[in-house]
């Protein structure tokens, strides 16, 4: 085997219209390794890989692929050189079928939909995905969409595959499927570049890991050296223990929200209540029905049953009803469901509170900027520029803004769906602190998450939903990691 690195990067620099993002990156990827790429939000990871695949052009520096200098101008050129990627902001052609998306760019001369579906079915079954190739991509669930974007890579003949936070939208089981695939590709001699904020995954998978900070390489660790404490210190300059957090219990006797026999097309009648100050964790396999609760409570789907907010019966037929009643939703798919890419960061976060900011119907730009600055301070959004358009922020910073958006509006009930997906370890702690603060101030919080750590750190009670009904509901103390896993898995067997 060729011992030379498959990709070498030398003194790579990048500025976006004068904003310096990469400040001289030197690193290399070896043949057949799984190389982790870590760093806080906005460190430049996504930018680096987009330069590797020619989505962006570097300001200066050199990239060598298999020893030869590489100068491409489009992702196609990178693909032809054997480098493929699934980006953090990957999207699908929503109106095209699964098969068409899967084979996009590698069609035969004559388009034959039947043959494409056959080929797609083949690929999907080889990967182990159960998606109908004839389905419209836009009608898939978020997790299926993510798996499909990943699947588009795996049937092409690449030498290097780059995955930018592939598990941010995946549950445990699907992640396992992905890891199996990654290992299979490693066995075939491919190089995998793996970007993630989930340090345990990195530890599990990666042969080496490089840590970026503020546009520079801080360190490259070998497999044995990757441990959470070291990585955390290198990434955000804090010790791992600093980041641990537990919910001391802020629940109050008053009930903030009670649902009685709440049911939807995919959820059998379910009843539960959330107290003021309480954090109720809800987990379960994706598609098992837990999202139905979130959607019903935020007015996104039709439901039957009764909902009481502070004892009063209410109907939630639309998100604006939900808002009026005091329910705020921090949705899972932030780019599609929560962000206004062409509005500034300040406009984004002040949108829910425009009615509060306005005097005599007028909203002042200064007030909007001020609310943007408040969120930046509380969540350490980077760059600290409230007047910058949202789409220029990195993935994790966008997520912070989405959460920040609801901070200023004191709602009575918050529904957080995967609040820390894509957020760096340092910011996770900030988000947790904020959630606890909200609970302390009397807000009821429903936390939808597939991260057991998160549930166990924050929840006072945990509910496991599967097969369209609540399987277990117990106080936090009744769970540990294993029993929670068991409860979730049991449902999948059932």
């Amino acid at each position: 085997m060729d011992a030379r690195p498959i990709i070498e990067i030398r003194d790579l620099r990048k500025d976006f219209s004068g904003v310096h993002v990469l400040k001289g990156i030197d690193m290399s990827f070896d043949r057949g390794e799984i190389h982790g790429l870590l760093g806080e939000n906005g460190a430049g990871k996504s930018t680096l890989i987009k330069i590797l695949t020619c989505v962006y052009t570097a300001s200066s520096g050199e990239i060598r692929i298999e020893g030869a200098p590489f100068h491409g101008h489009s992702p196609k050129a990178a693909n032809d050189a054997g480098v493929g990627a699934v980006y953090q902001d990957a999207e699908l052609a929503w109106n095209m079928t699964v098969a068409e998306n899967l084979l996009l760019g590698s069609e035969r001369r004559w388009i034959d939909r039947r043959a494409m579906e056959r080929e797609a079915r083949d690929i999907l079954s080889r990967i182990g995905l159960d998606i109908d190739p004839a389905a419209r991509a836009g009608a898939l669930t978020a997790a299926q969409m993510q798996m499909l974007t990943l699947a588009t890579l795996f049937h092409r003949k690449f030498k290097v595959i780059i995955l930018d936070e592939p598990t941010a939208r995946l549950s445990g089981r699907e992640s396992e499927l992905l890891f199996a695939l990654i290992r299979r590709f490693k066995a075939e001699g491919l190089t995998i570049v793996y970007i993630s904020h989930r340090l345990n995954e990195v530890k599990l998978l990666c042969d080496r890991a490089t840590i970026l900070r503020d546009g520079r390489v801080v360190a490259t660790l070998a497999r044995g050296e990757i441990d959470e404490a070291a990585v955390t210190r290198l990434m955000v300059n804090r010790s791992a223990s600093d980041l641990e957090i537990t919910n001391p219990g802020f629940a109050r006797p008053e009930v903030a929200l009670e649902v009685k026999a709440l049911g939807t097309a995919k959820l059998s009648p379910t009843s539960f209540r959330v107290h003021r100050g309480e954090i109720l964790g809800i987990t379960g396999p994706i598609g098992g029905g837990m999202e139905q609760i979130e959607k019903a409570l935020s007015g996104l789907i039709a439901y039957h049953g009764e909902i009481f907010a502070e004892g009063r019966p209410v109907r939630i037929d639309s998100p604006s009803d939900a808002l009026d009643i005091g329910v705020a939703l921090i949705p899972e798919d932030r780019r599609k469901q929560a962000l206004f890419p062409n509005l500034t960061m300040a406009e984004n976060v002040s949108l829910p509170i425009l009615d509060r900011l306005s005097r005599f119907g007028m909203v002042s730009t200064a007030d909007i900027m001020a609310s943007g600055r408040r969120v930046i301070e509380r969540l350490q959004v980077y760059p600290a520029a409230p007047g910058t358009k949202m789409r220029y922020f990195s993935g994790g910073n966008q997520q912070k803004a989405v959460i920040g958006k609801w901070l200023s509006r004191d709602q009575k009930i918050y529904i957080f769906s995967e609040p820390t997906s894509g957020v760096d370890v340092g910011a996770i702690r900030q988000i947790y602190e904020i959630m606890l603060e909200m609970a302390r101030d009397g807000a009821a919080i429903i936390l939808m998450s597939t991260s057991f750590n998160e549930l166990l750190s924050l929840s006072e009670r945990i509910m496991v939903v599967h097969s369209g009904r609540v399987a277990v509901e117990r106080p936090r103390a009744g769970f540990d990691r294993d029993s929670l896993l068991a409860a979730t898995l049991a449902s999948e067997v059932a």
Binding site: P75, A85, W110, A265
Partner: protein, 343 residues
């Protein structure tokens, strides 16, 4: 507004995943109307016309409708590619004029076949310019093509001095294109069919059409998949201009002359046809078959109204109503639960 998911859920019984997956369980009539609604309205209007006038549903009249709609149909089919690619082309009408002028000017010099080729090349060059402005030059399709439209109008006037350019009556082959007939059927109607087939194949069977659709659907996804997005956007403009160029040649042939102005008037019709066509067969995105049916509908209504002799106010009101009805039946029953597209 509620996203009314499915109808009444079977209480108690946990919904099994496979059953609901991707199956549409609405009332069969609703499902039928979703696909055939617009076509149904078109047919109903046609039936009403043929009851009202014995001359409406005759081979000769259908041929007349096809003959009349030729220019608009070609423009609209071309425009379909641009809209499918996610842009707008407002220069289409003027390209028709330019092509017919270039062709008519070249015929005496080069002979008809070469003149046709020159006109088509010029049209494609204009399409290329449009495409390059919209991609590499980053100019919005609307302003960019309006700019090109102005340039072309100036050029057209310069070339013609404001006068028509006559095509000799002895240009038999050339005039056959737009004026020939076989019995009741005009040669032009046959060509319309041929060009439709070509457009259909380009759109549905060749990679170019597939990529144009993908780019229009989500340019970022297409770009990330390694598709040269700009190439296909430019191609869509070239295709559009090419279809306009063909329309211009036939227009010159039918009129035995090229007019210095006039083409710009087709713009609104073409947009109406493309967006009406998008609802046909419930696709919700532009497609050439839909566009062709859309153009047919517009011209059929116009033809019917002229046959009846309704006055222009009633005519416009009827036009408005049937257009809204045709689009509305499909749109209202749209399978999209949440409707958030307003263009």
């Amino acid at each position: 507004m509620t996203i009314a998911e499915q109808q009444a859920p079977a209480a108690g019984a946990p919904p099994s995943r496979s059953e609901a997956a991707g199956r549409d369980t609405s009332h069969p009539l609703v499902r039928f109307l979703r696909v055939w609604g617009t076509i149904l309205v078109i047919l109903l209007v046609a039936v009403a016309f043929s009851f009202a006038s014995p001359y409406f549903l005759t081979v000769s009249n259908i041929n007349n409708i096809l003959f009349s709609m030729f220019t608009c149909a070609l423009l609209s089919m071309g425009l379909t590619f641009v809209v499918a690619a996610g842009s707008f082309d407002l220069s289409i009408g003027t390209i028709v004029t330019t092509s017919s002028i270039v062709c008519a000017l070249c015929i005496p010099v080069l002979g008809a076949p070469a003149a046709i080729i020159v006109a088509l090349l010029v049209s494609m060059l204009i399409g290329l310019a449009n495409g390059v402005l919209v991609t590499w030059f980053r100019i919005s399709g609307i302003v960019g093509t309006i700019g090109v439209m102005f340039l072309l109008e100036g050029g057209n006037q310069y070339l013609t001095g404001g006068y028509q350019v006559a095509v000799g009556y002895d240009e038999h082959f050339f005039r056959w294109l737009g004026q020939g007939r076989y019995g009741f059927i005009a040669v032009k109607s046959v060509f319309l069919f041929v060009f439709f087939i070509i457009a259909f194949i380009i759109a549905n069977r060749l990679r170019i059409g597939h990529y144009i659709n993908a780019v229009g659907d989500n340019p970022l996804a297409a770009y990330y998949s390694g598709i040269p997005v700009y190439r296909w956007v430019i191609s869509s403009f070239v295709l559009s201009a090419l279809f306009c160029g063909i329309a211009g040649i036939f227009l010159a042939s039918t009129s035995s002359s090229a007019q210095p102005t006039g083409g710009a008037g087709y713009l609104l019709e073409a947009f109406a046809a493309v967006f009406l066509g998008a609802t046909i067969l419930g696709k919700g995105k532009p497609h050439v078959l839909g566009t062709l049916l859309g153009v047919f509908f517009l011209y059929m209504v116009s033809n019917g109204m002229t046959q009846f002799g309704v006055d222009s106010s009633a005519r416009n009101i009827f036009n408005g109503f049937v257009l809204l009805a045709a689009v509305g039946t499909n749109a209202l029953l749209n399978r999209e639960e949440l409707h958030l597209r307003f263009i």
